[in-house]
């Protein structure tokens, strides 16, 4: 397996992979040389500062895990599928609906598998609730309420950590809290309710005075 992007989530995924039987990380890519050194210390043989180079050398790879900034998802997924690789990508799938639709088409045409990191489905409590709901033990779902409150990229407790510049650029993030946190809530809604749905009302907040929303109803 290859890991593309060794930021916070990429490193977490890389560490998790070392504990999964049958998975071997053979290549990683990141611009940070210190991140690559840490990967080498874990025994990763092939390290690249450019993910294009990793994808141009897919020999030992069955799949790649993509944990890049949002605006790089579409391109990296496209190249990974073209290289004949299966893909796990951190959410969001892409920055726009159009890009998502193109990815779905590319996946269908490639015959490869793609999974998006909808991790909230696999939380113990979620799985138990789903099992209960599927058995009909709570009856028909009339109202579903999902709420998440977090500080997003500024959530560092008492010791602040740098926020990558792309988080402040609406063209690169796609949207703000809708894709960062709302994404999981929308996925959970679909997980429990199923099917397609229509958004009747939405409202954004901009408490932080940034171009992207930081609150949403």
């Amino acid at each position: 397996m290859g890991v593309i992007g060794l930021g916070h989530m990429g490193r977490l995924h890389m560490m998790n992979c070392t504990h999964i039987e049958g998975v071997r990380i053979v290549a990683v890519a990141d611009r940070s040389k210190s991140a690559l050194k840490k990967a080498e210390a874990l025994g990763v043989k092939n390290v690249y500062t450019d993910y294009h180079d990793l994808l141009n050398n897919p020999k030992e790879l069955d799949a790649v895990l993509i944990s890049l900034p949002n605006f790089l998802h579409f391109e990296s997924i496209r190249l990974a599928l073209e290289a004949g690789l299966n893909v796990f990508v951190e959410k969001p799938l892409a920055n726009t609906s159009e890009e998502c639709r193109k990815i779905v088409k590319l996946v269908d045409e490639s015959g490869r598998k793609l999974m998006v990191g909808h991790c909230m489905r696999f939380v113990d409590a979620t799985e138990k609730m789903k099992a209960i709901a599927d058995k009909g033990q709570i009856g028909d779902l009339e109202v579903v309420t999902l709420e998440q409150i977090l500080s997003g990229p500024f959530a560092h407790g008492s010791v602040p950590a740098p926020v990558p510049e792309w988080w402040f650029d609406l063209k690169r993030t796609g949207v703000g809290v809708l894709l960062d946190l709302g994404y999981h809530l929308i996925d959970l809604f679909r997980f429990f309710v199923g099917g397609d749905f229509e958004v009747m009302f939405s409202c954004f907040d901009h408490k932080f005075n940034l171009a992207m929303e930081d609150g949403e109803v």
Binding site: K207, N209, L210
Partner: protein, 196 residues
């Protein structure tokens, strides 16, 4: 005799805050040295945490201070709000996110990122050790420099930090940590910043 300190109970409206600042200055009989034509105000914008967290200076307080300063020294004085980049914070984002761009617009003041300012190297001595500090020219040129710190318990060796640490934030280099936390020099480097 040490520096005089004025303590005043403050109300919540900006008018009350402005009057309280004036009362505190009168209590210590504050008189600036010479004519005041330019004023630099240094709040504490350590990270992108709103002032309601207690970590950063409330822009409403700065607004009241600006009104007070203009009442005392003239409507036409040039006022700047200054801050420098920190290890995890970029001033350009902090000014926007924490309400200071709006403050600058509402109160007709300038925002200055000291990390983008020209600076001079100044050698200072603390005890037996000498080290260099970079001092932004903007700060040096201001007739009156006003420090608006936040009192915090953040540093194990030092316990409580307030005005001296906030002034140290004028250091234009983002990575300021190596300077104060070398053993035996932490208080000294802050004190030297204050003197400069």
């Amino acid at each position: 005799m040490g520096s005089p300190v004025g303590l005043v109970k403050v109300g919540s409206s900006e008018e009350e805050i402005k009057d309280s600042i004036g009362d505190a200055l009168d209590l210590i009989d504050f008189k600036p040295k010479g004519l005041v034509k330019s004023v630099d105000i240094k709040p504490n914008l350590c990270y992108y945490w709103q002032s309601s967290t207690g970590y950063t200076t409330d822009p409403h307080l700065v607004g009241a201070l600006i009104d007070c300063v203009r009442e005392r020294y003239g409507r036409d004085i040039h006022i700047r709000v200054v801050e420098a980049d920190a290890t995890a914070m970029k001033t350009k984002h902090a000014f926007k996110m924490l309400g200071y761009e709006k403050l600058a617009q509402d109160y007709n003041v300038e925002l200055t990122n000291l990390s983008e300012d020209k600076n001079d190297t100044v050698e200072v001595t603390a005890g037996e050790q000498s080290f260099n500090l970079r001092v932004p020219q903007t700060i040096q040129k201001a007739d009156l420099k006003i420090n608006i710190p936040k009192i915090k318990y953040t540093v194990e060796n030092i316990k409580l930090t307030c005005a001296l640490k906030n002034i140290f934030g004028c250091n234009p280099y983002p990575k300021k940590v190596p300077i104060p936390f070398q053993t035996g020099r932490s208080n000294s480097s802050h004190q030297q910043s204050h003197k400069i």
